[in-house]
């Protein structure tokens, strides 16, 4: 149960020369321009960049929610590129966890049922000890029978975190998980995510545009105009902010065809 930080044991997810082009002709948008990146096991990586830089697109491609135009994506030993719907579904079910910005939960299910939903869908039984650990870490024990509409936004996001964690996926992808929360709830959720990495060796990739949020990560990857332009290890809010300011003053990369 104890994995140490900063001791990478291979990549949980990897992108190699990934291109993503939306539309064609006049309306063509190149969202990713040859992105190559590795996300080590047991690490908390943040993807940062200005709005429209391709953060979400990269995450969607990594998570098997979207297909890449060129290049390959791997989750663990599984090559994501080229999988069909059934394969992608199985991948998402068994290897990946998700935390979205909002609307993470099914309104008809209680918190507990929401947490156990991915396992139920897969027809797997939860490991009771791990389940207890997760519930205690997110601090939701007395809220388990509540419906989402009876929970605060922060509690809902914690339920979403617990859901992502409980099946122990290869990697959890979180897209601006604190974007809709006030700073205190946001801090709770981020602290919880960091703990799950530090204490339980979970791999997490988080998209954010908030330097404070990025500071919770072990490493920050900076995107601009669909390319990785910089990287920080062991960031603090200040170093992140500095890097962003520096990037803002850089000239925009030249248009590259594909």
């Amino acid at each position: 149960m104890t994995a140490t930080v900063g001791r990478p044991v291979g990549a949980a997810a990897r992108a190699s020369d990934v291109w993503k082009v939306y539309g064609s002709g006049e309306a063509q948008v190149v969202a990713l321009r040859g992105v190559s990146a590795e996300f080590e096991r047991g690490r908390f990586t943040a993807i940062m960049g200005p709005s429209g830089s391709g953060k979400s697109t990269l995450m969607h491609c990594l998570a098997g929610l979207d297909t890449v135009t060129r290049g390959t994506v791997m989750i663990g030993d599984t090559k994501v590129t080229g999988l069909g719907d059934a394969g992608l579904t199985r991948l998402r079910r068994d290897q990946v966890g998700f935390i979205f910005q909002q609307f993470n939960l099914l309104p008809t299910l209680s918190a507990k049922e929401n947490i156990l939903l991915p396992l139920a869908i897969a027809g797997r039984k939860p490991d009771p000890a791990w389940y207890d650990t997760v519930i205690d870490t997110v601090g939701l024990r007395d809220r388990l029978d509540h419906r989402p509409n009876q929970l605060s936004g922060g509690q809902q996001q914690r339920v979403a975190c617990a859901r992502a964690l409980v099946s122990r996926p290869q990697v959890i992808f979180a897209d601006e998980p604190t974007g809709n929360l006030d700073s205190r709830s946001g801090a709770e959720v981020l602290g919880f995510l960091r703990n799950s990495v530090r204490q339980h060796g979970q791999t997490i990739v988080m998209v954010t545009h908030d330097p404070t949020a990025a500071a919770y990560a072990d490493r920050v990857v900076f995107l601009a105009d669909g390319q990785i332009v910089s990287e920080l290890i062991e960031p603090t809010a200040d170093t992140v902010l500095d890097t962003m300011k520096k990037l803002d003053t850089l000239p925009a990369p030249t248009e590259a065809g594909i």
Binding site: H60, L65, D66, D85, A86, T89, R90, R92, R93, D94, G97, F98, F100, F103, N104, L105, L106, P107, T108, L109, L117, P118, A120, I121, A122, G123, N149, R163
Partner: protein
Amino acid sequence: MLRATLKSLLARKVRLILSGLAVVLGVMFVSGAFVLTDTLGRSFDAIFADAYEGVDVQVAAKPKLAVGETEGEQVAPPFPAAVLDRVRTVPGVAEATGSVNATGARLIGSNGKAVTSFGPPQLGSNWTGGSDLIEIRQGRAPQADNEIMVNAALATAGKVTVGDQVGVLLTLASKQEFTLVGIFGYSGGRDSIGGANEIYFTTPVAQRLMLGAPDTYNSIVLTSADGVAPERLRDDVAAALGDGYVVKTGEQLSADAAAGLKEGLSFFNRILLGFAGVALLVGTFLILNTFSIIVAQRTRELALMRAIGASGRQVIGSVLVEAVAIGLLASVLGLAAGIGVGALLAYVFGQFAGGLTLAGLGVPPVAVFSSFGVGLVITVVAALLPALRAARIPPIAAMQDVATPDRPLTRVTLSGAVVTAAGAGLLALGLSGNAGDNTLVTILTGVLLAFIGVALLTPLISRPVVNLLGGLFSWSVPGKLGRLNSGRNPRRTAITAAALMVGIALVTGVTVILDSTKASIAGKAEQIIDAELVVAGEQTGPQPPTFEPTVVDRAAALPGVAAVAGLYNDMATVEGERRFVNAATDLAAVGRIWGAKATAGTVATLRPDQVALSEPAAKELNKTVGDRITAQFARGEPHTYTVAAIVPEDRLPGAIMLPKESAADFTQPKPYLALVQLTPGTPVAQVQPQLEELVKDSPEVSVTDRAGFIAQQTGQFDTLLRMIQILLALAIVIAVLGIINTLALSVLERTRELGLLRAIGLRRAQTMRMITVEAVVISVFGALLGVTVGSGLGAAVVEALKDEGITELVLPWSQMGLFVGLAALIGVVAAVLPAIRAARINVLGAIAHD
């Protein structure tokens, strides 16, 4: 505002199509009914105009009985040939032909079975040299007494050709053999006019066989001399002949004949409109639901309109404009579809009626007006509640992400209870027979209110019932999610289920009533009639098939036969009123077989001037034993009878039992039914073949045992039931559309949720299963409501009919089980498209969706 509404309307095409479809189907039924009856009506007009073409004036003797409303043509009684000579002397008569033309001549086809026309007359006529109407196609007209000519349709149906020896069954004579010498058609290349069949004999043969008397006619056809108007000639001839004769112009005759059939048509029309009403009721539920969902989904948009200054009234207007647009479009399509359906039904009807030549398709104004009226009114009324709800959306809803709050069900439940109670009250009033002339309206309004009331109560019971039903599926994750989804919006689930309820409740109710009636009749027949064998035929036209009177005597003489009762029936005028009468070959035998014991007088063989009455008939006529009653039959002069016995109602085959001598004056002077009681210990199999031998010249009748006979008698209920089920199936189809609609809209509403589920690993097949479970739970819920409400309504009607002899309540358990099973299947079918749609949702698009 209007532009904005119409734009958003176009953006919701699918929704529009589905909710509009319910109105389209209902309107289709309405306009179809009018188009059908209009087309058939004009076709009948044309037929009779044709049939009386070349007839300027026709003379007939006054019928002995007043014409009944539903029984078609009366026997035109024969009159002496001398009348023809008298008519010829009237000035203005150019030509006068004595004619014999009566129904009841049935050709025996090459397979030994009598050809039936299923309704239209089977005429026997005298050949008088033909007219422009008749075209001889093969052979020639009859010249000798053993020769006949038949119309082409009859020859085809009987598979007979010129030169064949053929048998003909007759009402007033026993079976006769003829040589077929000719086949004819009618002008315009027609094989038959309106499905009627016609056999031409020589005049003396026709007089003897069709009228039962030589040297008589039953009509004289006149053509007027040049310059003499038919009306003028009619009046002159009528004056010359005096009372006792009916003189009419050809135009009058054709109008009269068509009017008789049109009476039947308007009844048919009302039945179709009744089913249209059911379809529209279901459609109303569907539209109400659709608009509720639309308003719920448009909450933000409508709130934004309010926020930028639209008034509540404008919001109502914008919803209602949408309703009007849907109503108009649906009316147009429904009218068009109805014209098609009406034409198709008219064609089918024409085929059944032996190749009825249809008049051109016409769209009567009433079809257009009623289509638009019904389509618009139903849609707008159904959209009214959702529109009012839309007006209550606060502008702030534009800024917040408010899920439509779950309003408490108290009000809707209370009003449901009130409406249900009102419906039950009206039903009770109507069924108790205290509503006087308004009984039918009271009962129908009661049923309608009961349906609406139950629909209003449905949201309350939907939660527990849906949970219980859904429990069956909860073993799998998709099943459980589906169950939860179906319980999510009790109102929506309830209305969708209630729409299905209406159709199933009506089918169940009708089944309960008819099955109970059937069981009561069969039970009573079994209990009362002590006869092992029955001679009877299946009635396919206005009169039942008959057999020779001698069969009864010969059957009585067979070894092992204890008693035989032969029965005749007809309408007659008894003490000045039209009544149904029976005659028995031997009332003593009837007494043995029915267990009849007189409460006054004695049950014994009636003398020719005696009559036996049932207790209610004696009461109505105010007669006791020894009193006299007068009766006029289809033929002959009035007779007077003395009441010899009064018997409890169900111990006699009919209310007025006459001696067998009176049957000679009946429309059909032959028995239609014989009940044969065997001596104890005689096996049925020993007597049955001998009886069959006795009736071998009457191919229309057969010998069955009692169980077979009862089944044959109650078989008509099965046919009726099937017809009603087919018509009500439309209501069920509309309800299925409703389920599809609700599901499709729910899928749309839950796009993001579906995306989330897919993102965390729900497979496509599992997604589809989830939607299917939701559909099945809703439809089974509807079916359960339907069979419950339906058997309740049916039981209430049966209870009310106790005094009419429906003493047994039969609940069709297997049928009801079948309906619930079918509903599950309906759910699966209804889920197909929405499920595919749900499974195809683009995961990424759904998550990014706002």
